[in-house]
């Protein structure tokens, strides 16, 4: 094999002169300090490599080592609760090697090679297995059982099994002889190229919602398990807060949180907070079901581009075990900017705002890896993608937001003016949408209440009407409106402040079960209908405001604990009593 030597260096882009035997997208080690890189362009006289670490100090003439395989991640037990950089190097182990600052060229295994897992075999000698089948299990954390899968390209007869017991990720668990008679040693871990989706048996329709406990999402703009949603918003509008809330409370089995080009302190916060908060469903720390991928904004830009793919590959791996996974990517704009930066270094022809012309196709490839699937081994699992978008200058017409909108079916637009008024989550109800509503209608009817969808429509109609009334109010003030319109404005205020706005720091309000969400919506609408009776009798609306019921409804999110739905009946009685007094 001819030796490859560095010829040119320009930021994270390194070129090798002459014909090489390197393959497109092959992973390579660059220089004497063995920096991780990937081949991104080959011509007859030069090969271009993007390097995932800082290139300062590299010299021309240093060797480039070929690995013969594309950029891969290791899949196996030990991934959960871990925190990785963009190319699956565990940051805790890096810390023990290089201290508080990340040094270059560190080679640490993704999952611990020494830790022994309590393995239970699921196959026996003589069984026929095929790619994707589960051959063994081990408890990975207190809440998640790791299922070891046969690599997808291997099938055959199990010729040898070890007894149940404790094994490391490198110990052979079973031996499989394929029909050519070749024997494969299967361990708990395997490798997978990050840019290739893991195969599935078939795609199923997404008909179950991802329950997040956030009212504006679950009730107004729900996302399905296996769906894709975008959260665009300028800085300070609460993208990261919303992502954190979803990561904490959504009912997926596994959360992959990718901090892509964002703040270091935020990742530290997730790490500490998730080890402290206990999951209400399991009573164990949230970290037990979480993987963090941290490629902060000052870490090398090429690894930022890879971090999104690393994340989705891990999500697909757990999906193949039959879990519902959710991937939070914060923020996909930083990923797009990394694409732009590397494209610029390659002197490619730019399209919109300097972004490369392949931006839309990369985005669509990424979002299409979400979905609700039947896996190769017959289990069902899903990958839900929730991508934050940071539009430049808060301008939603920029290319990343626009292209993301095309490939996601759920759009939670964050609004600066709501954030300024500290209305969180600052999701604007007028220009957000969810296309999943139709697919999920049956589920809501069967699992929450038959009136759920109808009530939701009415709620949205009131908000829409308020929006158009506000145009008038802005010009002439609210005093001149007729009473029925004043009522709409008052009720809409109750919906906005009492229902849509949700306090992430309140112990009850941070996560609200669907049942309470529905009861809250129901009682607001019930109150609205009773108020309409009063307005119809020409009784002035000031009598209604004097009852204090509006404020009572606004504060019910705090006053009624999540586990006491019967208190809504008492509230209803109180409404009836007060309104009947006025009517009398």
């Amino acid at each position: 094999m001819s030796e490859n030597k560095i010829y040119g260096i320009n930021g994270p882009v390194v070129t090798v002169k002459g014909k090489t035997d390197l393959e497109m997208m092959e992973m390579v080690y660059v220089g004497n300090s063995r920096l991780v890189g990937e081949v991104i362009g080959i011509t007859d006289d030069a090969t271009t490599i993007q390097v995932y670490e800082e290139t300062g100090g590299l010299r021309p003439g240093e060797p480039v080592f070929s690995t013969g395989s594309p950029m891969c991640v290791t899949l196996g037990p030990g991934i959960l609760t871990n925190i990785f950089d963009g190319i699956e190097r565990p940051l805790r182990d890096i810390e023990s090697v290089s201290g508080a600052f990340i040094a270059k060229g560190i080679d640490v295994p993704a999952v611990s090679k020494d830790k022994k897992w309590q393995v239970t075999l699921k196959v026996q000698e003589g069984d026929i297995v095929k790619g994707g089948d589960i051959f063994a299990e081990c408890p990975e954390t207190a809440v998640i059982t790791h299922r070891a899968l046969v690599p997808v390209n291997i099938s055959g007869t199990v010729t040898k099994c070890v007894p149940d017991g404790e094994y490391t990720v490198d110990d052979t668990i079973i031996e499989v002889a394929d029909n050519q008679g070749k024997v494969h040693n299967l361990t708990l871990s395997q490798r997978w190229p990050i840019r290739n989706p893991r195969p599935v048996s078939e795609r199923l329709p997404s008909q179950k919602p991802l329950v997040t406990g956030q009212r504006i999402i679950d009730t107004v703009f729900p996302v399905a398990k296996g769906g894709a949603a975008a959260i665009p918003g300028g800085f300070g509008t609460g993208k990261t807060m919303t992502q954190h809330q979803l990561a904490k409370w959504c009912d997926a089995d596994i959360i992959i949180y990718v901090g892509c080009g964002e703040r270091g302190n935020e990742m530290t916060q997730v790490l500490t907070e998730f080890s402290e908060i206990t999951d209400p469903k399991t009573g164990k720390p949230l970290l037990d079901r979480t993987v963090l991928i941290a490629n902060t904004s000052n870490m090398p830009v090429a690894a930022r581009e890879a971090s999104i793919y690393t994340g989705i590959t891990l999500a697909e791996y757990y999906r193949d075990m039959g879990y519902h996974t959710a991937l939070m990517a914060d923020s996909t704009s930083r990923w797009a900017e990394a694409l732009r930066e590397i494209s610029g270094r390659l002197e490619e022809m730019p399209a919109d705002e300097g972004f490369p012309a392949y931006l839309p196709s990369r985005l669509s490839e990424f979002y299409e890896r979400s979905g609700y699937f039947k896996n190769l081994n017959g289990t069902e699992g899903s990958v839900t993608l929730i991508g934050a978008v940071s539009p430049q200058g808060s301008d939603f017409s920029e290319p990343v937001t626009q292209n993301t909108k095309r490939f996601t079916r759920c759009f939670w637009a964050l609004d600066k003016s709501l954030a300024y008024a500290r209305h969180y989550p600052a999701i604007n109800w007028n220009n957000s949408y969810s296309e999943y509503l139709g697919d999920l209608a049956d589920w809501y009817r069967d699992n929450v209440d038959k009136d759920f969808i109808k009530d939701r429509e009415e709620l949205c109609a009131i908000l829409a009407e308020e929006n158009s009334l506000m145009e008038i109010v802005k010009l002439i003030g609210a005093d001149v409106l007729p009473d029925d319109q004043k009522l709409i404005i008052e009720i809409a205020r109750v919906i906005r402040v009492g229902f849509l706005q949700q306090n992430a720091f309140h112990k009850d309000d941070t996560f609200v079960p669907l049942e309470k969400q529905f009861k809250m919506m129901q009682i607001i609408l019930y109150f609205y209908h009773r108020c309409q009776e009063i307005v119809a009798r020409q009784i002035p609306i000031s009598k209604l405001t004097a009852t204090g019921l509006f404020d009572k409804l606004v504060k019910m999110k705090y006053d009624i604990p999540n586990d006491s739905p019967q208190m809504f009946d008492e509230l209803k009685k109180e409404i009836d009593a007060k309104i009947n007094t006025i009517l009398r």
Binding site: I9, G57, L271, G344
Partner: protein, 455 residues
Amino acid sequence: MIIEHLKLSEINGSLAVIDGVSNPSYEEMATLHLDDGTTRTGRVVKIEGNRVTLQIFEGTRGISMNNARTSLSGESMKLPLSPEILGRVFDGLGRPADGLGEVFPLVRRDVNGAPINPVSREYPRNFIQTGISSIDALATLIRGQKLPIFSGSGMKHNELAVQIVRQSTIADSDDFAIVFAAMGVKNDVAQYFRSSFTSANVMNRVVMFLNLANDPIIERIMTPKCALTAAEYLAFDLGKHVLVVMTDMTSYAEAVREYSSSRGEIPSRKGFPGYLYSDLASLYERAGMIKGKKGSVTQIPILTMPNDDITHPVPDLTGYITEGQIVLSRDLDSGGIYPPVSVLPSLSRLMKDGIGEGYTREDHQPLANQLLATYAKVQDAKALASVIGEDELSQSDKQLLTFGKAFEKEFINQSFTENRTIEQTLDLGWELLSMLPRTELDRVDDAILDKYYKG
């Protein structure tokens, strides 16, 4: 043996190209000796075989193909550091500029630094009292935070920065230091900061890095890197709490743009290079605290928004990286309010975990929410009043307007020397909210209202 290269093969903007260099390394430093006896400093920014592109910090004016001898140093840019740097003034490249001679280095650090491992970071939670109500109550500064001031030309951002530096109780003990980096600011501004530090009697704790408006532009790209390297040394080696004031980040970004365009790179918005985000992040992310180390780096970058436009790429990208921002408002400034903090777009992301019971006071968060929510309503009422006139407003809108005026005059406004404690600030907030009927306060729960509401 140091090899000198006698010729340059190409000069373009701040870039010079040399051919026939053996064994260069990426980002290493080079020295150019000109025939007239002066020297310039450069850095390797591109290598193609043995053809090397150098970025010349002092500019290429006066350099010809033949009048400069170049020698490569073999290592990247390092800053000499020792505890002696306190009280010293350096130029934009970290060379002494106060005539007191070279620093005898205990260590030499790469100015590019290395990213802090997120696992090693300590999540910042220690409240810094600045004595300024609008900041303490509504956009609290936390030790280890990066909180920029978004300002415009002619507004009082320098005074505000000085007041913060002077009044901040950044450390419980004497272990604090200030690193001041000036990028492309006028001589008067640098002088103002220097005399303020002197009159506050802290000059022996200050390290200054000055690249003034008439200094070489490419040097400016290195100035914040040098300043932050010094700050990291003071914080993580010497265990001091360091406050870094960097002004003006807009000039810094413009220097990056100038350099980028001379390299012929593809521009993105407003001609700034596509990597401006990563570049700014590599500076701002150097703020923070590290587990097991005593010191901290807190950053207050100041930037002027061209044409007061907050969507301009520099404030925009800064806002995406920093943990909040303090935005100054032209309206308040011309209305005679000091500090002219526009409280609605101002924000501190780390505030939520550094305030409340055990840190400041239990009512801090609800009070801040309520003040901001009410002040947002004041803006709506103002807009309505400008259409239909104040007389036509409803009673509640009129009350809001009165509240708004009082809030600006008494809460936001304070004198340059007034240092309010957090209790005074919070009590003042409640006093103002008590002007409104209790039913208007929908962000606060009843227990807190019972305790603090006085209406």
